[in-house]
Each structure stands twice: as C-alpha cells, then as structure tokens.
C-alpha cells in the first residue's frame, strides 16, 4: 500500500499534462471568449446579496422590471461569483480549466477501466479533444459536459457490468445538474439511447434477460426525471431546455440564424476538424470490431447529427467519440518504440492503474493546482498569460467613456457589447439587449434585430423605445446608416471597433432629412 503512494499513474500524469497545456496555451482565449461569464458572475452576486434563488426581478435591462426567465444555473452563478470574490478572474478561469481537465481525466479513467489500451485511449482523447476544445469557454455548459461523461459512465456500468449500485446516484446527480445548467436533459438522451439499444440487442439476440434489465434503467430514468422538478422553477424549468430544441418559438429562430454557436460548424476555416471527421470514418472502416454495442452506435450517430448541425454540439460529439470509439475499434499495430517507451516509463514508477474514479490522489492534485495557479497566481504574467480582459475583444474604452460621461435616457446597444455593459454598470440597469437573449420577450427580440439590421421601421422603433443614445459596433448597419444623419445624431465617442451616437437635443428620430427634392 505504501509503495502505491509513491507510484505515478498515467491518469494523474495525464491530468497534470492536460491542465498545464490548457493553462499555458488557452487561458487568454478562455477568459476573452465571450461575455457570458461576466453576466453570470453578476447574477451570482445578486443571488448571494439577496439570498434568493429565483431572480424574479430584472437587474440588467431597463426594458422591464419583472423577470419570468427560468434560468436554471443558480449553482453555477454562485460558484463563479464566489470564485471571483476569492481570487478574481484567475480563480474562475483556473477552476474552469480544472473542470475541463477533470472531465477528460474521467474519460481516460473510464477507458482504462474498460480494458482499453491506455495509449490507444490517450491517442483518441488527444485527437478528439480538438472537437471538445471548441467549447472551452468559461460557461455553465462545461458542467453539463462533466455530467454527460458521468451519466455515460454510470449507465454503461449497468449496461456492461450489471452494476446497479451506481445507477442510484443518477437521481441525486440530476438534482445538481438541473440546478447548474439547463442542458440536463442531455442525460436522458444518453439514457434513452442505452434503453433502445438494450431492447434492440435483446430482440436481435433473443436475450430476454437483457430486455428485462431495461425495466430497472427505465425506473431509475423515471425517478431521475422526477428529480428534475427539484429546481426553483419546478416544471417551468424544463421549458428553457425544450425551447432550445423546438423551433416553434420565434425567438429561437434568431438563435439558429444569428448566434454563432447555433450555426453549423465552418469546416472551411477549420480544415483540421474536417480531416478529423474523415479520420474518424477511416478508423471505423479499417479497425471496426466485428460486433459493436448498439447503444454506442445510437449515441455516436445522434451526436454526430447534432454536432454537424449546431457547432456547439461538436463538443458533445467529441466527448462521445472519446467514450465510444476506443471501444469500437481494434488497432493491432504494435510499435516497438511504444513497448520500449512503456518499459522506460515503468523505470520511473509510472504505471497504469485500475483505481477508482475518485481517488484521493486526484483531489490532492486538483486542490494543489487550484492553489498554485488560481489563488497564488504563481504563473500569472508568465508566457504572456494575463488574467485581464482584452481591450481589443471587449468595448473597454467606449464603456469607460460612457461611465465618465453618462448620457441620460434610454440606450440601444450591440448584442455582444451588452454583456460587457452589464459587467461595468451593474447594479445600474443600462442595456437594451444582452447575450442572455432568451430573457427577452419575442417582440423585444424582433424590435432589436429590426433596429440592428436597420429595417424599414428602425427609426420608428427607436422613437417608440425613446432611445437617446446608441452603443454600436462600427459594422452594425444602423451605425453605418447613422453616419449620414448628422442632422439628428452626434458621434460622441469612437474607437477602433465601437461608436457611440447621441440623439441631438430637440431632435426626433422621425425627422425627415432635409434635402432638395426636385420631383
């Protein structure tokens, strides 16, 4: 036992390596990816200040006072807010990076426990982390990725080893999941795929036992489903998730046509991702095992479909590839150098371990890394890493101007800039629109995009909402159009990317431009 303490295992080594890779190469891009983290921290601040789980009061936009938004992320908000309080962005980002690493660690541990060759597992994880990497953002969705892996491992333990005990954890885990991120129904997709797969396998193999076993899985699934109602919004909490899948609600059309992560992935720009997809088919064709497990196939195909459609789901597809592909292929290539390398590693006491997923050692590693990188900020300012928001990515200078020269009256702002305005102006309610998007009623979203696109009634809507100033990206159509309306607006501030317009005193948006009409 004592000897084991001083042994280094592949999994722990992999954890440290992946973490270091993410920390030293991705920190700046993770912090400066988008503004979701900013308003999530602010929501957490509000929850902690007011000690209320339901935000029935709107705190960011001036358009309305009551908030009926069923946002199921209060735990995540509190975590981010708390981390920011104890260690600033450094603690938040290092936590996010540890969460990403721990998810990958679980995948590796699972594969090794399933007797997959550790080098093969490492190879697939290494390749398809690139798909997962697409969504390495400081967002609540990272918790969902972690839970997806946990659900898969637990249900698979029941499917492959008849391990009933682990299944009892699902309803409990689900209570956390439902309160941490709205994508909790992904777990049920995984369960459903296993259920159908098991039934079909039972029918094809005439293995009635297998079909009977699905009863228990169904039962646990049902109990887990009931636990999803244990959230501050009860049954209404499910609408948030369902809306993101069903096209019926008009506001979601905006997502599918305008929000980057809901669009299809650009394989043109990301040629490497295209090659990885082809390599995936190549590996399946060349090294596929004779008989495959149907639940894995169903899951694989489902998430492939979803991943090609919505670029944000490529990350889930990546995780599913990592979990299933090494079990679906058999690579018999024996590299001598690999065998030698393995022997060489054993000289340094580096071994493969069959230990449990939640080993004490890994927690020691996590706490140590969090302390060294997150709280102590030992490596901040090393290799260009700065836990600061980039001036180029966010409208820092324009917001600074607006803070010093607060223009009275209602404002209209660029969608992305909304998140940063919230961050800087909270608790003042300043934004017209922000990246929460679904918090806004359909009419507001429609009005926003009509003004944003400079539609036919843009001026009329600006008048209706009594807008006195606009905070826009220079590329926004309205920003371009207003350049030619010096008669009604002034440019009060302009930087490289953003511009602030102010409606002139005693002027009206519907004022006709004075021109010589000779008709």
């Amino acid at each position: 036992m004592r000897g084991n303490v001083f042994k280094i295992y592949y999994s722990e080594l992999l954890f440290i390596l992946i973490f270091c890779f993410i920390y030293f190469t991705k920190t700046n891009s993770i912090l400066n990816s988008d503004t979701d983290l900013l308003w999530n921290i602010r929501q957490g601040d509000w929850i902690l200040e007011n000690k209320k789980l339901i935000m029935n009061k709107e705190i960011f936009t001036y358009l309305f006072d009551e908030n009926n938004w069923t946002y199921l992320s209060w735990i995540a908000n509190i975590i981010f807010s708390f981390l920011y309080k104890i260690g600033g962005f450094s603690a938040v980002i290092v936590f996010v990076e540890l969460l990403i690493t721990f998810t990958l660690y679980l995948v590796f541990k699972y594969l090794v426990n399933k007797k997959v060759n550790p080098f093969k597992a490492f190879f697939i994880i290494f390749l398809y982390s690139l798909y997962y990497m697409i969504h390495w953002l400081p967002r609540n969705v990272l918790f969902s990725y972690f839970f997806i892996v946990v659900w898969f491992i637990i249900i698979d333990a029941y499917y492959s080893e008849k391990d009933k005990k682990k299944l009892y954890f699902l309803p409990i885990l689900n209570i956390i999941w439902v309160n941490i991120h709205s994508s909790f129904l992904y777990g049920f997709i995984i369960g459903a795929m296993f259920l159908f797969g098991m039934i079909l396998e039972g029918l094809l193999e005439k293995n009635w036992e297998k079909i009977k076993e699905t009863k228990f899985l169904f039962f646990i699934g049902f109990i887990s489903f009931l636990t999803t109602f244990l959230n501050p919004f009860g049954w209404k909490g499910h609408l948030e998730f369902l809306n993101s899948f069903i096209y019926s609600k008009k506001s979601y059309e905006f997502f599918y046509s305008r929000i980057m992560e809901y669009l299809s992935f650009d394989f043109h720009g990301g040629i490497l991702f295209n090659l990885l997809f082809v390599i995936l088919i190549f590996l399946i064709l060349f090294y596929k095992k004779k008989k495959l497990n149907l639940p894995y196939i169903f899951l694989f195909v489902f998430w492939q479909n979803s991943g090609l459609k919505f670029s944000r789901h490529i990350a889930v597809f990546g995780l599913i590839i990592m979990l299933t592909l090494p079990q679906m292929i058999e690579i018999d290539i024996k590299f001598n150098w690999l065998i030698k390398f393995k022997k060489y590693l054993s000289k340094f006491n580096i071994f493969h371990s069959n230990s449990k997923y939640f080993d004490v050692r890994i927690f020691v590693v996590i706490v140590a890394l969090f302390f060294i990188f997150g709280i102590q900020k030992t490596f901040e300012n090393f290799n260009g890493i700065k836990m600061e928001i980039f001036n180029k990515r966010f409208p820092v200078a324009s917001t600074e101007y607006l803070k010093k020269n607060r223009i009275e009256g209602n404002g209209f702002n660029n969608y992305f800039a909304g998140g940063y305005l919230i961050w800087e102006f909270y608790p003042e309610k300043i934004v017209f629109m922000d990246p929460r998007a679904t918090v806004y009623p359909e009419e507001t979203l429609e009005s926003f995009y009509h003004i944003y696109d400079f539609g036919n009634y843009a001026f009329k809507l600006l008048e209706v909402y009594n807008i006195k100033w606009l905070f826009l990206s220079k590329e926004d159509f309205t920003a371009i159009a207003l350049r030619y309306r010096e008669d009604i607006v002034d440019i009060v501030y302009e930087e490289e990317q953003y511009v602030i317009y102010k409606l002139k005193e005693n002027k009206n948006w519907l004022d006709e431009k004075e021109v010589d009409i000779n008709e």
Partner: protein, 512 residues
C-alpha cells in the same frame, strides 16, 4: 458504351430509370432555370457569331478586354446551340437528360457490382432526392455525368481489362473544355493506383496494372492541355479556386446543415449507422473505394458545392462496403432477404429485347422534343418576370449606361437583357474578377463601413440593389443619391450629379 449497357444483365432498368428521372427533372424544371445560365448562353452566342473563342471580357466595365479565364467554352457553345435551335426550354430539358443519364449510370454501376437490386434502389432514390438542390442548368452538372462514367470505365478496366479505357482521354478533352472540375479524373485514377498497392494479387500482375494506370494518368494530364489555355489551365484553375472563389463564393463555404444541407446531415448519419452496423471486413473492400469515399466526404465538408459529388460517390461505394450477414441470422429477415435476392436475379437476368429498347428510346426523344417546345413559353415568361422585377428593363429603357453597382445575380440579368448597351459591375462568372476587385465587391455587397470609399474608387454613378437594409442605408444619403426606380423588390439610385445630368431624359418610377 453499348458494351457497358449490355454487360451480363439487361438494360431495361437503366432505360426506365433514365426515363423516370428525366420526367422527374422535367416536372421540377422551373428550378433548373437560373441566372448564370443566361450569361453562359450569351457567351456561347458571341462565340458562334464571331467564330472564335471568347477569352477576353466583354460584359463588365472594369475588366473590359482583359483576360477572362473562361473554362466553360464548350458547354457555353452547347447551351447556345440548343438555345438558338430549340429555345431556352430545350436547354433545361437537355440538363434534365444529362442528370437522368447520370443516375441511370449510377444504377447500372451498382447492378454491375452485383448489389442487391433493392439496396440499389434505396441508394438511387436517396441520391436523386439529395442532389435535387443542385439540379440546375449550369456547366457544373456535367461533372456528375463525367465522374460516374470515369469511375465505371476505370473500375471495369481494373477488374476486367475493359477496352473502354481508351475512351477516357477523349472524355478528358471534353471535360477540361466544359468545366473546371476536370481534375477529379486524376483523383479517381490516383485512388485506383493507391488501391492497387494494397491489393492481394500476384506482384507482377499488380505492377503491370499499376503501371498502366500511371501511364493513363499521364495521358489524361497531357490531353487536359488540349484547350484554349493549354498548360496554363492548371495554374489558372487551382490559383483561382484557392484564392478567389473559396473566400468569396457562398457555394464554396462549408455546408449549412440548417438549410441547404439539412437533409444531407441525416444522410451522413445514415451512412455512418450503416457502416457501423454492417460494414464488411476491411480486407474484402478495395481500398480505392474507401479512398474516393473519404475524399468526397472531405470535399463536401470543405465546400457545399460538392454536395452532389459526395452523394453520387457515396451512393456508388457505400453499398459495396456493406454486408448483412449479421441481420440474416434472424429468421424472418433471412427469409425476406432470400426472396429479395431471388427477385433481384430474376429481374436482372432476363434477356434483352431490342424492340422494347427502341420503343423506350423513341418515347424518350418524343418527350424531349415535346417538353422543350412546351416549356419554352413557360421559361421565357419566368425570365421576363425576373426582368420586370429586377429593374433591368428600366435601365435599358432609360439608357443608364454609365458605371454602376449591383449584386452578382442582378449582373446576370443585365447581361442577358442589356448587353451590349449596359456593362456590368459584377456577375456570376468565375475567372474574370481579380482578388482585390472581389474584396471591394464584398465591401459593397455586405455594406462594410468603408463602402462609400469603394463607391468613390470606382466612380459609381448608379446603384441597383434589393429593397431592405441596404436601400434603407442609401435612403439616409439622400443628399448624394436620388431614388429613381422602385417596384417592391429592387431599388435603383442615381448619383446626384449624374441624375442632374440626365434627369430630363429619364422617367422616375417609384412605387410608394
């Protein structure tokens, strides 16, 4: 080609499929018509009229008399000839025939590879349905036919030493004068050369075949140079694609699985599911098929223009990867499967009847002529509807012949109606406009903040744009631009100084 058709099994199905797909294409014929076709016809007409190849631009203002890498010469002449003899309807009917021929060859190939006829039908119907968005009358659709024929002939040569391999160089000459995708033939031959390397056969036989394929590849590369640009065609085609088109052309972007390629996503899932569940042992699959399939996936994910090529190639090869032993262990599936195989063999092995074939072919030609004449009127009406709503007529009538700006598809209409009076800013032709020019066009078309600088740079005197955000922005510049035409869909503005110059000669037609 008759050898291919007669080979081992009868050709009834091939002819029937030819007819059915042809009729199906005809019923969807309004979708076959599109604006780039009009420019190709005009170009073809010019070549027939002047008796020489058109390699200089005659349609645009900025590139007037400059070199145009026109790689579609032969297809333009074909389109113009059909148009002049039989009208615009016949051009679309001809495209329908071309597409139908592609799918009947596809069916033939699967039949030749002894694929169960019902599986054959499944992939045939799928490929017909999935390629529908690209059934348009442009030279690009020739590629479908060429690719299928090249694969069939190469495969028959590879497996049976078929003498039809000698046709390939002649086909290559046609292909390189018809469309820019002629290099697919190289990819096909290279795939077979690589596949040969992995094949378990006698070394001498293998080497012999590989050498012959290599010589064929060389011949194909050499005969490609039989075109107006000779060896320069390689540099021009690749240079143009990799610099200009891939950045600026929408169809060269990655597929949008929400809209255009929504159904293709399900097809990819279907293929993956089939491969995961039913693929054969890898040793039984010739590697050239896998290679071509993977290349088609790669090229489709890279650019949505390759949708049909991906669907056609995958429909030809994926059925060859599959076997259903696993399912046949189940009794009732095994029974059905045996019956299907029996019917498949009975249907395919009946003897040929030359009279029946002649009747089918005659019906086909009657339909061709009848449909061409019938659809002429409909197509002409459709084009004039475009014309009315496009404002091209207004520009022609009011003799607005100075330099103007418009989107590419409106440029096609201007060429069709107003050539030679009005020169265009841009149109859908490839190989004319330079990288910088396309960038400037992008700034104008997407209304970038610097769009006014581009207007000044090219001294643009009129703007012809669709009604919406764009026209709303120009409306704010009413001290610089005068709205002279608006009918609900498109708007025309004249620069104030130009308007002052010609205001007595034009009428203002603004629908309010």
């Amino acid at each position: 080609m008759s050898d291919i058709i007669k080979n081992k099994t009868n050709s009834y199905f091939m002819l029937i499929i030819l007819l059915l797909v042809f009729l199906f294409a005809i019923f969807n014929s309004l979708d076959l018509l599109n604006s780039p076709l009009l420019v190709h016809i005009r170009t073809g007409e010019w070549m027939l009229e002047n008796g020489k190849f058109l390699s200089k631009d005659i349609f645009s203002f900025e590139f007037q008399d400059k070199e145009w890498h026109n790689f579609y010469g032969l297809s333009q002449i074909i389109y113009a000839l059909i148009y002049l003899k039989l009208g615009i309807g016949a051009v679309c009917v001809f495209t329908a025939f071309k597409i139908a021929l592609t799918f009947s060859f596809l069916f033939y190939y699967l039949k030749y590879k002894k694929i169960n006829i019902f599986l054959n039908f499944i992939f045939l119907i799928l490929s017909i349905y999935l390629t529908l968005p690209q059934w348009i009358a442009v030279p690009y659709t020739f590629n479908f036919l060429f690719i299928v024929i090249f694969i069939i002939i190469t495969d028959k040569y590879y497996n049976e030493n078929s003498k039809y391999i000698y046709i390939l160089p002649f086909l290559q000459i046609l292909w390189s004068n018809i469309n820019t995708e002629f290099f697919y033939s190289y990819i096909i031959i290279i795939a077979y050369i690589i596949g040969n390397k992995f094949e378990i056969k006698e070394k001498e036989l293998k080497n012999n075949k590989r050498n012959k394929l290599f010589y064929l590849l060389l011949i194909l590369i050499i005969v490609t140079m039989i075109n107006p640009y000779t060896f320069k065609i390689f540099g021009s085609v690749f240079g143009y694609y990799f610099v200009v088109v891939r950045e600026r052309s929408n169809e060269w972007k990655s597929p949008d699985f929400h809209l255009f390629a929504k159904i293709i996503n399900n097809y990819i899932s279907f293929l993956l599911f089939m491969i995961l569940c039913f693929s054969k042992n890898i040793k039984k699959i010739p590697k050239q098929y896998i290679l071509l399939f993977l290349i088609s996936v790669l090229s489709f994910l890279y650019a949505q223009i390759h949708l049909s090529l991906f669907v056609i190639i995958s429909s030809m090869f994926v059925p060859l990867f599959l076997e259903f032993d696993y399912l046949e262990k189940i009794k009732f599936i095994s029974k059905i499967s045996k019956k299907l195989k029996y019917f498949s063999e009975v249907l395919l092995d009946k003897k040929e009847n030359i009279y029946l074939n002649l009747v089918v072919v005659s019906i086909f030609f009657l339909l061709f002529t009848f449909q061409s004449l019938k659809y002429n009127e409909i197509y002409n009406e459709e084009i004039s509807r475009w014309r009315r709503s496009s404002g091209a007529e207004y520009i022609k009538k009011n003799k607005i012949n100075e330099k103007g700006f418009h989107l590419a598809e409106l440029g096609d209409m201007l060429i069709w109606y107003n050539y030679p009076e009005t020169k265009v800013f841009i149109d859908s032709r490839q190989g004319v406009y330079s990288w910088d020019y396309m960038n400037d066009y992008g700034k104008l078309a997407l209304i970038k903040p610097e769009f006014e600088d581009v207007i000044k740079k090219y001294d643009i005197k009129w703007i012809f744009i669709p009604y919406g955000s764009y026209s709303n922005i120009i409306d704010q510049m009413s001290d610089k631009w005068k709205k002279v035409y608006f009918e609900g869909a498109n708007v025309i503005y004249l620069r104030k100084d130009y308007y002052e110059e010609i205001k007595d000669k034009i009428e203002i037609s603004v629908y309010r």
